[in-house]
Amino acid sequence: MNKSYYTCLFGGEAGYGVMSAGSIIAKGANRSGLWSFVVNEYPSLIQGGLNSCLVRLSNKPITAYEETIDFLGLFSQQAFDCYADKLSPSAIVLYDAATTKIDATKVPEGTLLCPVALASSIPKGGAKIMINSAMLGAFAAFTGYPKQVLIDVMKTEFHNEKVQQENIQILDEVYHLVMETLSSSKVFPFPFEPKAEPKMLINGNEAISIAAIKAGCKFSAGYPMTPGSSVLSYLADHGAEYGLVFKQAEDEIAAINMLIGASFAGTRAIGSTSGGGFALMVEALGFAAQAEIPLVMVNAQRGGPSTGLPTRTAQADLNFVVHASQGEFPRIVLAPGDIEECFYETFRIFNLADTYQVPCIILTDKFLADSSVSQLPFATDSLTIERGKLFEAKEQPYLRYENTPDGVSARAIPGQVGGRHIATSYTHGEDGFYSSGNKEYALNEPMVTINSMDKLYNKLPAMEKEIPAIKFYGPPNADLTIIAWGSTKGAILEAMELAASQNISVNFLQILYISPFPITATELVLQQAKKTLLIEGNKTAQLGSILRANTGHKTDYTFLKYNSRAFLPSEILAKIKEVLF
C-alpha cells in the first residue's frame, strides 16, 4: 500500500478510553520516526455522547488532518453511524458485534469489516476503559503496527504496575486471537525506526504553558472554561515543581484582577479562558492598560455567541478581543498558528508585556489548543528574559508614569525603596495622581488627559517595529495570495503543497500579530498579490474587516467556515481551484 498518510479514528462513549487509545498510537509512532496529528472531538458531557480521536500518521511532518479514515475502531453504534461515510477505499472497520450493528450498505465497497469480541476479553471485574487495550491489540494485528511499540508506550503511560500488566495482557491476548484468524492484511504503510530521535506529542495549550514556565511566569489565576482550562490545569500540576502558584478564583473577574495584582507586585502572571470568560475579564483589561500593568491572557476560542459550543472550535472572537473594553488603548494580540508559535511567541509575549507595559492576549482556538502533534523539543538556548524598564532607587523624584519619548516609563515594584506610587484605573498624570476635585489637577485636566492618552499611543512605533507581525509562505509571484490567521495555518500549508503538486501557484500571508496591525508589512505583500483569498473560521470575515480598515484592501474572495469544525486541506484546495479556474 502506497500512502503518504494513514488515518485511524476511534469512536465511542466517554469512558472507553477513546482518546488514550489514540494517543498511545500517536506516541508510539512519534518514538519510532513517524509524525502524527491527533484531533479529539467530544461533546460537553461527562458520560455518554460520542467521543472520537483521530490519529493521522505520516513519515513527514503533518500540519493538518483529513477525515478519510483508513482504520475505524468502534466502541459504539453512534460512532459507526457518524463516521461510516468517511471511510477511505479498503478501510478496516473494527467493532464488537455485541455493541455495534454494522449496516454493510453504508460503507464503501471494499471495506473490510472485522468483528472482534472486545468487551468479552476483559476479565471479570475489569473496568470498561480496558476495552481500549483490546482494541489496540486488534489494531496492531490487523494493520501491522508493531505490537511492542504499543506495549512500550503503555509501560510509561500507566504508572500503576497492576493496571499496566492487566492492560498489556488484554492487548496481547486479543492480538493473538486476531492473528490466529487472520491470513494477511498488514496494511500499515510506514516502517518504524526503533532508534529514532523522540518527539513530543504536544497540543497548543501545553506549548503555551511550558513557554510560560520558561518565561518565568510564577503566578496564574483562572476559572475553568473549555478549551482554555488545560493551560490552568497544566500550571496547577507543575506549579509546585517550578515554584509557581495557581489560584482558582471565584470567577473570571477575580482571576484577572488577581493577575493584575500579582503583576503589579512584580511577578509574571498568565491567565487562560475562552470567549465567555474573557467577556467577564474585559472590565479589568482596560484597568491593566490604564495602570500600565503587564498582563498576559490566553483566549482559546470556542463556538459562540454566549455559551455557544463549549467543546468545538471557532475563530469568531477576533473583533471582540481586538476592541474589547471601553475607551481606547494599544494592546498586543497574538494569533499563533501552530505549536512552535504557541511556544516561542508565548515566551516572547511575556517580554513584550514587560517591555511595553500593555495587555497582551494570545488568541487561539479549540482546534489549536486541543489537537496534539509531533514536535521536536523546543530550542531554548537563545531565549532570554527581558523585563523592560525597571526603576532604580537613585532616580529621584520618581514619577511612575513619566512621559518619555517612547511612552514607556520605569516600573517600581512594591518593596522597592524610593519607588512608592499609585497605580490607578483613573486617567492620571505622570505621578499617577488623579482627582478632578483637586484645584491644580482640575486646571490641567484636559492637558493631563491628552498627555496620558498620547503616552499610551507613543508606544506604538516601537511595538510595531519589534513585533514579528506577519509570516509569508510560498512563491512571491503566485497566482493567488491566501490571507489568514491562527489555526487555519496548518490546513492552508498542506493545501498549498497539494496545489503545488498540481502546478497551481499559491502563496500565504499569515497575520501572526493582529494588534497592533502590521500595516506596512501587509501592504508590501498585498502590492505583489494578483488575487487574494481570505480564509477564516467565522461568519463575518472578521480579519477581512480589520484588513480593510487598516489597508483599504478588500480581498477578492473569502472562504468562511463556521460549522464548529476546523478547515481541511482538501476543502481549501477545492476553494483555490474554484477561485482560479
Partner: protein, 287 residues
Amino acid sequence: MAAHDINLPYVPTWCAGCGDYGIFMALKKAMTSLNLDLEQTVLATGIGCSSKIGQYMNTYRIETLHGRSLPVATGVKLANHNLTVIAEGGDGDGMGLGMGHFVHTARRNIDITYFIHNNQIYGLTKGQSSPTSDLGAVTKFTPAPLGNVEHPINIVKMALNVGATFVARAFVGNSTQLVSLMEQAISHPGFAVIDILQPCVSFNHTNTYQWYQQRAKPIEEMEGYDPADLEKALIFAGLWGEQIPIGLYYQTLRPTFQDSLPQLSHQPLAQQKIDNIDITGLMQKLY
C-alpha cells in the same frame, strides 16, 4: 516612621465633615504606631469616596476597579507575601460588586486586612441606596413613600458566616477604639475585616454622627462578651437597633492561604530568579 511620612501634598476632596477623614486619620495613626515600613506596604482600594484614601497616602497603592480591591490585593499578597497588604473600600464597593470576592477572600483566609467604610449610601454617585441601606431608606433610586424594600446586609454577620478570622465593627466617632482595632487587624495573621460605621453628611441624613453615637456601645462592656466564641459573636452581630456593639467581635487563628502553599515557603514569587529555567523535564514527559 513618622505620621508625616505617610502624607502626600494633596488635599483630600471629601465633603466637610465626611467620615472618611476620621478613617484616614485613624489609619495613619495605626500605621505609625505599628511602625509599618511604607515601602513594604500596599494599599489596594476600590472605587468611590472611600477608595480615594489611597490617593492621599504615601505607600505603594493600587486604586482598582469598583468592587475589585480584594482580588487585586490577593494577587499582590501571593506575588509577595512579605508585603503588608491592606484593602479598603465602601459598603457599595465591597458588598455590591465586591460581595463574591469578599466571601471567597474570607473563606481562603489570606493575610489581608480589609477596612470597609460603611455609610449605608452611595456617596460619589450622589445618593443611591447601598447594600447596607436600612429598610425604608429613601434614596435617589428608592424614592418615597416606599424607600428601600430590600433587607440590608449586616457586614459583621456576613464576615463571621464566611470564615473571616478577625471581625470587628467600629464607629469613626470613637477614634481611639478605631485606631486600636486597626492596629490589631493589621497585625492579625489572616483575613481581618472591620466594618467602619461612617456618616455621609451629604446624602445620608438618617445615619448621622448623632444616630450612631446614640447607639454605638463598646462590645466588651456587654454581658457574655467572648471574642473567641463564634456563636456569641453571631448573636452580638444581630444587634442593630437601639444598640449597636462596636469593638472586636471575633478573632481566631487558622492557617492562612499563603502559609498553606509550599511554593511560598522560601521566598516570595516576585523575588525568584527567572533566568535560565530548565524545561527539559517537561518536554521529556511528552515523549
